[in-house]
Point group: D2
Chain length 341, copies 4
């Protein structure tokens, strides 16, 4: 941590700062600049919020953190890429590009089974589908809940595809974990720390979505929450951030892929459906994600998007998804990844 | 809802859209434009997510919602301003400007009692203090939990000030409600729908903070979640939104005050501490909030900010808070509000 | 400037960095941290873009600037607030709150004279009106150009009000300066450096608008551009920044007032018309701006907004402007400013 | 344009709106909704800013535009993709992927010649280099100006590579056009309408960069400015938008590629150097851009980035650029494009 003193700060003020740095267990180190002094606080900054309080001291202009506040998620602690195992035959983070696909919500047996068969036929290795839905309106369809989980399990039986589904509160974590192969934490819960702690205590992989206005650093801190409770099987999912642009529902931040790859060992997956909010843009953004180094994709596919109970405009029909997968293979190869058999 | 057809869309496509509009229970109404057609879907749009799926139909360019998706929170449903009662002698939303003040976190008995006495002396009508803390780092101080609630209750006994404190998961709602006079939903939980539903079922006022990247409309939808479960005592709190600017921790959106006042009957409170992240800017932004029509303020005050276990840089010392309150009285008067005795 | 080395950077890499720092004329100063080293580069950072290139050296994680890149605009160089003189009897930045008002565009003689008379009657001390209009569409009204300047001059003759008007390219600076009392640089030209340099060479006050996505620091750098050419009479104008929120045309960043006041000696003026884009929100945001410490306001007033050739929705009718001014007086007093006679 | 009336607006108010719509030359068309009326204004909306003024009428809630405000840039007017010719042998927008590369600034003869030879050897078809530099600080290197143009021409002679360079004010357009093969309008001048008009009058291709906080629609309006003056050879360049994220200098919006391709016939080029601000992220984002359908790339390459007079941290060394180009070929093929011989 670097404490920048004001130009013309008094010696007394500087002394108070160095004294406080020592009290907090760090070693102060002063650099006398031409117009102002700068004081380095040497030590482990993990509890940095306390050092940040130096900012309220007399004569202090600002406090600049140097170390990243996360450890377990950091590449400095674990250099080699993490491979998160989903099943005996499937893992995310290795050479195989993993595509998860399926409808936004599970609506009924026919719809989810039909979806599962279609996405498997096209080459997807995993099924997605929402049973507990976090909807912005209390008047919108809220999901089939446990009934939805059962239908997802039936679709898994039918097709052999493992599935990922969202969990939206701590109380239903055990229930959702008892059915699913991977639990998703949605964007709106990405800083729901009670929920993060709870999924950190189970033994199932977690797909953690980036919050709509979450910095990369905050994203890794949320992963750290899960990991610090014991669960190291975290997969990061970029799904679009909120910006001023309205031509897309969100702005898909693909530069998050190389940035994350430079900072963490965790796998990175992209959600081009929520990222753009428009089925027309899913294919090009999927190709781009793979080219940028993504380990996987999660894509909404619905047999009849016009009648979907949620997110129809951003769902692909099975035929279009098949075409996407066919072309995706070329980009996967160029990116030195394999896709399916 | 307005469906905008593509220029040159086929009659067949337009017919399919009008047919689907009827199936969904709305009445289609076509306007033939010079380059394209536009179809109005007349009816109640509350379940609008379904109408939105029309966007995936052939020949459709976009779907434009017309109605606001909230009802109970809307001024159209209830024209007169709501006054939320906190205690026999205190209410928010009326002529009295209400100031809530206190430390970010409850740290120990001395700190919270000292804070309560100081803020009361300066004219605050309500105490604030965190017992359950949603911290971005798992390694930061997470709050005293129930012990903190007990200390807040003791401070209330000592000073007579009712208090507001945050609740961060559905399971502790009843516990927090049993101690406190108002429950706060923090910015990071502003779309934690499981939590919103739960606080909608209790009989205590809720201070709902706006999420960091929440639109005004989404903010009102979160209020609607609470209200649709039965609890009408919702107070909206703007606490800064996330923008590109880094000179302040967030960008305090004071225009939210007149915008909210034009759309909802719920009271509006401003949090200049989180809104700016810097104690130097709290006083001017407090004055501005009141001038813009706020019903209240929530301000962080700590007896010793340099040693605070959280948010020290944005906390005022009691003496500075006293000076703020003295000057605030002038602006409250200009805004035709009363402040304290 | 602080150079943060990577964890585990080689001594050879660190040596190369210190060598390069010396070559650039700075003194390196190393702090050995627990996990990484940090190197301070002591010296004047004004040409900091060169130091920034250290970021491309082997072993370097990041480069953190310490000094502000502006000098003339800085409060460190000039502590007392600047008062910019507009005429013998009018100055901005002192105890008098200055209100500039008038239509977005000058449309014809009747319209501008009528506007000038109305805003003067309500207490405005200065007239505003666009003769050269920077419109986002090439098909929109582009302004009356020199004819507009002549009409503004006529309105000044009639009412005695000095006027401010926008200049949009270097070639017309002299022309606009020959008619007007203050030149405005619009938000879209706030980093049009050729134009900034040119207005830096004239002897008229400049009203510099903040760009839509300009940080406070970039804003001050644009002021520095003008000042470094010789013209010290710069007034800063916040007019709303671009965020995700669409309920207002822009998000008026009133915290810019105390932030700017802490960093620069230049006067600060607020434009609530562009800042909100909606006449309904102008009054509350004007009151808030004054409460937050603004030195002036610039407000759009049009005798017949429904027929305005530009920006009608954000223009006040004279009667509403009169009401605003009457109430504004109370807030000006609370803020210890005077308004008009 | 759709005029949404307030719930409960009076018939008198609705009549005034329809009357005004007729006066403006449009045909009103009323839809009576369940809670409010909506009035369509049928006609060409190109001068839509006038219709927007309806928003200030009594009883009007909002005005929703339906048509895009641009014509010449629109795919509705010209369906087939435009191919912009740069030289007898080079064009942008066709099957060939075009890579422009070179240093941020032209510094001296050796540097620019060396750069040109290196980027040509790696497969770039065009040279880039700044002679007039728009720098945020008046104290930074401002470019070699005409001397720089001469050196670029010399580099073209040596290597046969045509070059693109930035123009920053209307007065130097003719000078820059007399030397260069394509003129660049920088992000900070993307709404400098005087400059856009001027380059619309010359007969050279224009590389128009997207402004930092420019919507796709505004971007196309700026292209329309150029095209409406006669010059149809416009190439759009996405170079990163400003968001809250600070891990990258800007957020490269690759979804702009499919969005633009769906709205305009103009070619789209990506600048991953400014888009990320970090040389480490240039290669993956280049691959992603091509996978998403970009027609070209513009990349900063400098023989010695650590000593560059500007933008060193985001410049690639020639060897790294060579490696990028080698791998880029694979992605170009997957995207059905050709790259070089």
């Amino acid at each position: 941590m670097i404490v920048v003193m004001k130009a013309g700060a008094a010696k007394k003020e500087r002394d108070a700062v160095t004294r406080r740095i020592k009290e907090l267990g760090y070693t102060p180190h002063i650099i006398h600049g031409t117009t102002r002094d700068v004081i380095g606080a040497v030590g482990d900054e993990r509890g940095k919020s306390v050092l940040q309080t130096l900012e309220s001291m007399q004569g202090v202009e600002s406090v600049v953190p140097i170390l990243q506040p996360y450890k377990l998620a950091s590449k400095e602690v674990k250099k080699e890429a993490s491979i998160v195992r989903i099943s005996d035959t499937l893992a995310i983070g290795g050479k195989e590009l993993v595509v998860m696909a399926g409808p936004c919500s599970v609506e009924n047996e026919e719809q989810i089974i039909e979806s599962a068969i279609a996405v498997k036929a096209a080459g997807a290795q995993m099924l997605r589908g929402g049973a507990f839905k976090p909807r912005t309106s209390p008047y919108s369809f809220q999901g089939l809940e446990e009934e939805g989980l059962k239908l997802l399990a039936k679709a898994r039986e039918t097709t052999g595809l493992p599935f990922v589904t969202e969990v939206i509160d701590p109380d239903s974590v055990d229930l959702v974990a008892s059915y699913s192969d991977m639990l998703q934490i949605g964007a709106r819960n990405s800083q729901n720390f009670a929920l993060l702690k709870k999924v950190g205590q189970i033994d199932k992989p977690i797909l953690l979505k980036r919050g709509m206005s979450m910095t990369i650093q905050e994203f890794l801190m949320s992963a750290e929450y899960i990991m610090s409770e014991g669960n190291q099987s975290v997969i990061l999912c970029e799904r679009g951030i909120r910006t001023f642009e309205t031509a897309t529902r969100n702005t898909l931040d693909l530069s998050a892929i190389p940035v994350l790859k430079s900072k963490t060992h965790l796998p990175v997956v992209i959600d081009p459906s929520h990222g753009t909010g428009n089925y027309r843009y899913i294919a090009p953004m999927s190709f781009a994600a793979v080219a940028a180094g993504a380990d996987g994709l999660i894509i909404e596919v619905h047999p009849d998007p016009e009648k979907a109970s949620s997110d129809g405009p951003q769902s692909l029909k099975p035929k279009k998804f098949q075409a996407l997968m066919d072309k995706l293979r070329l980009f996967a190869e160029a990116a030195d990844k394999t896709l399916g058999a």
